[in-house]
């Protein structure tokens, strides 16, 4: 995963894939940048939406995996979803 520099100032949006445990915030946008997921960008977007990652939803990063702090367990409203940081890059939060 390329650790792209994140500008927090640019309308305060950070990919969920880069935040640490304990982060709390709201989803600003779902934006799949590349399709290197074994899935098309549209398909990944659809799956994230199906799991409840929708603009406006409240998220909290509850846990990090033991190796390379990956995957992450994210509380999205009342559900906990485990996903890899690579996919979480598509979820922009603030």
């Amino acid at each position: 995963m390329s650790e792209r520099p994140v500008s927090l100032k640019a309308d305060q949006r950070t990919p969920l894939g880069l935040v640490a445990r304990g982060f709390r915030g709201h989803i600003q946008a779902i934006h799949v940048a590349e399709s290197a997921h074994g899935l098309s960008a549209a398909e990944l977007e659809q799956r994230l939406l199906e799991l409840g990652f929708v603009e406006g939803a409240e998220v909290e990063v509850l846990h990090e995996g033991p190796l390379g702090r990956d995957p992450i367990a994210v509380r999205v409203n009342d559900t906990t979803i485990a996903l890899r940081r690579r996919e979480a890059m598509a979820i922009l939060v603030s």
Partner: protein, 626 residues
């Protein structure tokens, strides 16, 4: 085609998001015994059952795999879509869809309801696990929810006695009242459809559901330990370790009892029957053969007790979370964890469970490696040899050596599955990108005694049924092979040396002697193709016949005298890999739709088995264990 309504039987279907308790509700309504557990993706097939409503109306109920949408992105979800849309030839269009929702987790479920409304079938929302929701202080205004959604709403607690009474009481009226059908306007939802539906769902929830003032924190607090990067891995390893120690330590007394019972039965048969072929058949073929397998029932049940407890608790998805990086590194799909875990029971349900994997290649990789996970049929083989050859002593003060060897065999199985997957992904399917991993972590739930007992009962019945059918018939075969032809008059040495079994076993010697197998093992491996534990029973029969009437010792003691340690270890190594299960191969053929992957699996496993046994045998001999 006659629709079911014409003959007065209603067809209902259970749909809903994964892990919302559809199968628990199905079991509660129909008295069924389908497997339930606390993780998403337990049900991958449609299951049919029937029940009668309070007014006496017959209902055919079909339980469907859980899904987030009717899009049908993986084989299990396609089943759900096709049944709901009436595209399955032998399944009538449902007269009523029961959309089952976890009352503690409504967001995604309500969005599914909004999508299901477009299908135009009568729809009923069942808020399951309502007891937990109420206990947590989630305040659901049922009338409001119903009017906002335009769908009748009932509550249920599928796992409690009487928890489906309200649902049953209202089904009669609802099935008729809700019975307005419309043309289906359903089309696969686009991303903007999904966003709109979720916004609508969130609006409905906001107006009809009061969130608790003090949210439930049990799951969060438990996960703070179990998903802790350090403590979590320690707990996972400890759990596995305790599990395998228990398989040996706890089962021993009951196994001794069963074993003594079969011995007594054998003596009884011996005394009751006249000397001759029939006596030999009953004592050596049937009782000694089948008994040598049934004795492992306690160990299998202990292993399943652990697995069922962890499944019901909700730990399995956590284990997947902790292991994901390792599995992903080997190129396995995130959702492969649960199929591979099921394969510890038996590769057959494991291979079926790969239907939750959407990508075809990822699914194939998982199918190819699933038989490497140590299934319960290997337990008899492993424990027989371990008990006979590995001293029952404690090392480092607290670790049973036998349990440790067992743990090692399981570990080698897992590592080789990861290795094979890695090779398949990096050398054969190089262009295959690592697929995503997204899994819901369910809230922890106290395991239910009834569900655990049912699970254990089911496993015990499967095992005993196999002992009574496959293993029994193979025993008849092996007894026949080991008894005929009879030795010529005045022949020297044991009669078995003249039998077909000895001829076949010795014929295979040039191939299998390099891995340390004697002719008795060779001949046991042939009926062992039917099922792994048959090899144990076959050895029991072959050595019982060879030993004649004086053979009072148990099979384990016989082996300890007859085999070298190197041979025993080589056979263990062989069994980690060998494709000795006809049913697994048949399921691979069915699930992959052809012979190709069945032959690939057979060939690569056989090759690995031979290499592993060869290396083990020669290393052990070099160490002076020959």
């Amino acid at each position: 085609m006659t629709t079911a309504t014409d003959i007065g039987i209603w067809n209902f279907a259970l749909v809903g998001t994964p892990n919302s308790g559809k199968t628990a509700l199905f079991n509660a309504l129909t008295g069924g015994r389908q497997k339930v557990a606390n993780y998403p993706g337990v049900t991958v097939e449609r299951k049919a059952g029937a029940f009668t409503t309070p007014s006496g109306h017959r209902v055919n109920l079909v339980d469907l795999p859980g899904t987030y949408s009717l899009r049908g992105r993986s084989p299990d979800e396609e089943i759900t879509r096709d049944v709901v849309l009436g595209r399955v030839a032998d399944q009538a269009l449902p007269d009523l869809l029961l959309c089952v929702a976890d009352a503690t987790n409504l967001r995604v479920a309500i969005r599914l309801v909004i999508e299901l409304k477009k299908v135009g079938r009568p729809l009923l929302l069942v808020l399951n696990m309502i007891d937990i929701a109420r206990r947590r202080g989630i305040d659901i205004d049922l009338d409001k929810l119903s009017s906002e959604l335009g769908v009748p709403v009932v509550t249920s607690t599928a796992v409690r006695r009487g928890g489906t009474e309200e649902l049953l009481r209202r089904l009669d009226t609802l099935a008729v009242a809700a019975g307005k059908t419309a043309e289906s306007t359903w089309a696969p939802p686009t991303t903007s459809d999904l966003r709109a539906a979720q916004r609508e769902a969130d609006r409905v929830i906001k107006s009809a559901v009061g969130q608790p003032k003090h949210p439930d924190t049990v799951t969060g607090r438990v996960d703070a330990v179990l998903l802790n990067p350090v403590a979590g891995l320690v707990v996972l390893l400890c759990l596995l370790f305790v599990m395998f120690q228990a398989v040996f330590a706890w089962a021993k007394p009951i196994m001794d009892l069963i074993s003594a019972g079969f011995d007594a039965l054998g003596v009884l048969a011996h005394d009751a029957l006249p000397d001759g072929l029939l006596q030999s058949f009953v004592q050596n073929g049937v009782i000694s053969g089948v008994g040598s397998v049934i004795v492992f029932l306690p160990q299998i049940l202990i292993l399943f007790l652990f697995i069922l407890l962890l499944e019901d608790l909700g730990y399995m998805a956590r284990a997947a979370f902790l292991m994901d990086k390792i599995m992903g590194g080997a190129g396995l799909h995130g959702r492969a964890f649960i199929p591979l875990l099921s394969s510890f029971a038996c590769a057959i349900p494991g291979i079926m469970a790969t239907r939750v994997i959407d990508n075809k290649r990822d699914r194939l990789t998982t199918i190819l490696v699933a038989p490497l996970m140590t299934c319960s049929a290997r337990i008899p083989v492993y424990t027989l040899i371990i008990s006979a050859f590995i001293p029952d002593k404690t090392i480092w003060g607290f670790v049973g050596l036998q349990g440790l060897v067992m743990f090692g065999l399981y570990a080698i199985g897992i590592l080789s599955a990861l290795g094979v997957s890695f090779i398949a992904n990096h050398f054969f399917w190089r262009d295959n990108a690592t697929p995503p991993f997204m899994l819901e972590l369910p809230d922890y739930k106290m395991p239910r005694l009834k569900s655990i007992a049912l699970g254990l009962y089911t496993r015990a019945m499967i095992f005993l049924k196999r002992a009574g059918t496959t293993i029994f018939s193979m025993m008849v075969l092996i007894w026949f092979l080991a008894s005929f032809p009879r030795p010529p008059e005045g022949a020297e040495g044991p009669a078995i040396d003249y039998s077909l079994a000895a001829i076949i076993g010795k014929w295979l010697e040039p191939v299998l002697a390099p891995v340390g197998f004697n002719w008795q093992i060779n001949v046991a491996l042939i009926p062992g193709m039917a099922a792994r534990e048959v090899a144990v029973a076959s050895l029991g029969t072959v050595y019982a016949i060879e030993g004649g009437k004086e053979a009072a010792e148990q099979i384990g003691q016989t082996l300890a005298h007859q085999w070298s340690l190197a041979t025993a270890l080589a056979l263990l190594a062989w069994y980690i890999f060998a494709p000795q299960c006809a049913s697994t191969l048949a399921v691979i053929k069915r699930e992959t739709g052809g012979w190709r992957y069945m032959f690939i699996t057979f060939a690569y496993m056989l090759t690995l088995a031979y290499i592993a046994a060869f290396i083990t045998f020669h290393v052990a001999r070099a160490l002076g264990w020959g």
